[in-house]
Symmetry: C2
């Protein structure tokens, strides 16, 4: 079993965040990494259905809504 | 760059969910996978600081709170 990438990364993975709304139907999964010694930022990385990974802004209302929608579905 | 595990898994990854509260300080990251053709369940997989992966119940109030805490921090 592969070690999750975040377990071996020791620094921030996002240099910028995607600002435009992404419809949940294009999202394959969302990874949330709390801030910690490796990175002072909370990082939210969405993997899209086409395989692309995009960093999302944890404080953006639409990002919180998408996460809530995934959990409530 | 490695393909995220969830992108290559074509079935549910959780057979059961951890029922006891896990303190956020033990959580390294949380992966949310919406339901879809590969799996009818929403799956929430936490990777703990010791490397273990545990499946969490998406509808459990404490799970929602932990996710909220990560985003709000």
């Amino acid at each position: 079993e592969a070690v999750p990438r975040s377990a071996i990364e020791l620094r921030c993975q996002c240099v910028s965040t995607h600002s435009k709304f992404i419809h949940p139907k294009f999202i394959q999964n969302v990874n949330l990494t709390p801030s910690g010694p490796h990175c002072k930022n909370v990082e939210v990385i969405a993997t899209l259905r086409d395989g692309r990974e995009v960093c999302l802004e944890p404080t953006a209302p639409w990002v919180k809504l998408i996460i809530k929608a995934i959990l409530d579905k």
